[in-house]
């Protein structure tokens, strides 16, 4: 169970005046401070944890954001930035003594600049809306987190979001040219722009992926790419994950970086096939989807090479998509993996470690062992190209102790990822969820240097406190970790 920082009693005592001061900065409909409507903001996609904030402010422009941040600076008020609230790591979960600044109303695309091959968008524009805005000219924005229909570009910047295509096209950090940032003291600054590379310290580089701890992103400039001429996919079944892993390694050794390379294990295959009927083979232990994109001549050539590699690595089945609808059908199961698992279990808990790919068979075997030990089922989907695992732990929050068991199981998986040379999170962020595991990956001196960076931007530690960096000593001092959050809401409230 993860504890929340102790709320500041002095701030709670001043909640009335603080709300009044906020009300003066934004139109009436942009402030939420009644308990009923605050409930909509008490959690994000890590729904096992929730907490109602002091207030939610929904600014309509960057000037209002800066004014809110300046007020918070004066009042020593904590701020939890929020995009669409799709964080799987609890990055946008409020604190009782904090205000949530929701950026959803900053939802305009400001400029489409084809000559410089970039788009300038306010932070609350959804990831997919950027692609839609440039699709008519055959362009797109490459990073495609699975929540792209809802998640905002500002949130993507905060989390350095990935997606199934980031092996070839990079994460958010590789596709963002600049941001407008409101610093914790209320200054509005521009980092980067329409040019490449920083002329001095790469502040943009450290702000991307900083999970809302260094300031509020209000505007983002992203590069756009021409949509590849064509894309085809292969659906390859294997009798073992070792074979599938060897096939992935051989593909990369052959000089091929596929646009996407996804693996699913038997429980994931069966769950998705029962859900969407994508036509997946059910007699295999591992299923690979390999997508190749580019000019037709290249794609056809590579489909041939990867098919040959699949055969030499003992594939029990191998199908190449012959049409766009068939390609989409191959993906239908993978893309429905989370809801498919949700269908066979009341709750699931999604993990996000990255491992060196060669460790896959060993890590999978260990995860199945843990599954037995914890008495909880697990299904694995996996960005095979870059070693990013998404084990889905199945549990029932209504059964006493199951959430705690699922969390312990998840923590053991992530520790194993670190043990084999990997990391705690590949794309979901540390957030609240993995905060207390940070000392497992980083030594105290490594964290100390990161704290120094934090203090450069936010010396009062008011931006998204309680996220990313452990505050274990505080919990230990309090000695009653469940109660803090319980003052506002039950942190282990069951999901229905």
């Amino acid at each position: 169970m993860i504890c929340f920082p102790e709320p500041d009693a002095a701030i709670l005592a001043r909640s009335g005046p603080i709300r009044s001061a906020l009300r003066a900065l934004v139109p009436e409909h942009c402030l939420i401070d009644d308990s009923l409507r605050l409930a909509a903001y008490e959690t994000d996609a890590l729904t096992a944890y929730r907490c109602k904030p002091l207030a939610v402010v929904l600014p309509e422009n960057a000037e209002q954001v800066a004014a809110i941040v300046r007020l918070a600076h004066q009042e020593r008020l904590k701020i939890v930035p929020r995009g669409a609230g799709t964080s799987l790591s609890g990055g946008a979960i409020p604190l009782a003594d904090a205000i949530v600044v929701g950026m959803g109303k900053l939802n305009r695309i400001l400029e489409i600049d084809y000559e410089n091959r970039c788009v300038v968008a306010q932070c609350g524009v959804t990831n997919l809306a950027i692609t839609h805005a440039v699709a008519e000219r055959g362009f797109y924005y490459a990073p495609d987190p699975s929540s792209q229909i809802a998640c905002t570009i500002g949130g993507n910047v905060a989390e350095n979001s990935g997606g199934v295509h980031c092996l070839k096209y990079g994460m958010t950090a590789h596709n963002v040219l600049g941001v407008q940032l409101v610093t914790p003291d209320g200054e509005v600054v521009r980092l980067g722009g329409k040019h490449l590379d920083a002329g001095h310290y790469d502040l943009l580089g450290v702000v991307i992926g900083s999970e809302g701890l260094l300031g509020m992103i209000t505007e983002v400039t992203v590069r756009i790419l021409r949509r590849p001429q064509t894309a085809r996919a292969l659906l390859i079944g294997f009798a073992s994950s070792e074979q599938a892993g060897a096939c992935v390694a051989a593909t990369i050794a052959a000089g091929i970086i596929p646009a996407g390379m996804e693996m699913m294990d038997r429980p994931a295959i069966h769950a998705t096939e029962a859900f969407v009927g994508a036509g997946y083979p059910l007699d295999v232990e591992a299923l690979l989807i390999v997508e190749l994109d580019g000019p037709a001549a290249e794609v056809d050539h590579l489909i041939g090479i990867v098919s040959d590699l699949a055969r030499t690595h003992g594939a029990s089945s191998c199908r190449a998509s012959a049409s766009e609808s068939e390609r989409l059908a191959f993906w239908a199961g993978r893309k429905a993996a989370f809801p498919a698992v949700g269908r066979i279990s009341p709750d699931y808990y999604c993990m996000d470690g990255t491992i060196p790919r060669r460790e896959l068979p060993r890590v999978l075997a260990a995860i199945y062992g843990m599954s037995q030990r914890y008495g909880l089922r697990v299904a694995n989907v996996f960005h095979a190209g870059d070693g990013n695992l998404h084990p889905l732990i199945l549990y029932d929050a209504n059964q006493p102790g199951e959430l705690e068991r699922a969390e312990a199981f998840g923590a053991e998986i992530l520790k194993l990822c670190v043990d084999v040379g990997g990391v705690l999170t590949g794309e979901h962020g540390v957030g609240l969820e993995k905060r207390d595991l940070m000392p497992y990956q980083f030594a105290p001196e490594d964290l100390a240097v990161q704290h120094r960076v934090k203090h450069v931007f936010d010396p009062d530690v008011r931006f998204n406190p309680g996220k990313v960096f452990p505050t274990l000593h505080r919990c230990a001092e309090q000695g009653r970790v469940h109660v803090h959050a319980g003052a506002a809401a039950f942190p282990h409230l069951p999901r229905f």
Partner: protein, 373 residues
Amino acid sequence: MVATFKPRDEADVADIVTRCSSRLELLGGGSKRAIGRRIEADVLDLSGLSGIIDYEPEELVLTAHTATPLDEVQRTLAAAGQRLAFDPPDLAQLLGAQSKPTIGGVLATNLSGSRRVTAGAARDHFLGCRAVTGRGERFKGGGRVVKNVTGYDMPKLLAGSWGTLAVLTEITIRVHPAPEHERTLVIPAAGAAAAVDLMGTALSSACDVSAAAFAPGRGVALRLEGFVPSVDARSSALLELLGGPDHLCLEAEVSRRYWEDSGAVVPLAHRSIVWRLCVPPRDAVRIIDALAPPCYLLDWGGGLIWIGADEVDAERIRGALHGGHATLIKAPESVRAAVPVFQPLPAPLAAISARLKAALDPHGKLNPGRLDA
């Protein structure tokens, strides 16, 4: 009297940084020593921290000690059919240096070559590091896998910090498969405007052009890399898209050498003053018109301008920019002492940068004056 410290390992580096009361000039190979102001300090000679620690081609990851020569890294990668996608340039000839770049120096300066426009910069391939702050603290940042968002991206902060925040001791980088084949199409262009148009069309096409540069008199060069059938199909499609222009085809090794020279800025090596401008690509036309420089090169589709001149003209050059930055990459020592070599920052960013420097190197021990006067 300048003292030279030669650490054997990271512990030595930490020990030297902690104990020494003097300031330190960080030195790997020394190939870029002539960039920035002359540093009045003792020398921290990192050449003892050399060698590849771990290389797993199938994981696309390589870890090396900081002063491992760049060409050793490149030879090792080439033997496994891989390479550094960001195309690090060797500026030794431009700068008149005898020495060779090291991998740590490449990342500390975040200098990337022509492929940067499509493949990303050095910083985008910098997965993890070990380093020693100016306080003498040893730490690690990032990781050793290609996909990682755990904690702040410390490697990106150190990339391009020119050794002023911490001493890099160990580098983990992402590597890429080398292409089976490459071809460069060289197409005549009358001037900067025509060239930027042409490069823009090529980079906005679905032809996967990996680099686009222009040298007045030589024309626009467009680089296509990949599997043979793909390079063939894309070069035909690209030429058709561009209206079937006159062109030269440079194949394989000839193409490779063309880009090596281009990235090394050899055509400007005879000039005493060389500027490097990073700008929005379309701005290149206006900037070249406004400055009418004696000689120049465009790269990154216009996003990178190299200007060779005899006068430094810092205010005029920086005054021509609307966004982006200009670095005085080469000039006589007296000139470098008199003008800001790196573009001065707006006040709020200068304040954040100064706090960052103070946080990691409070006594200003590391590379004093390299980045800021």
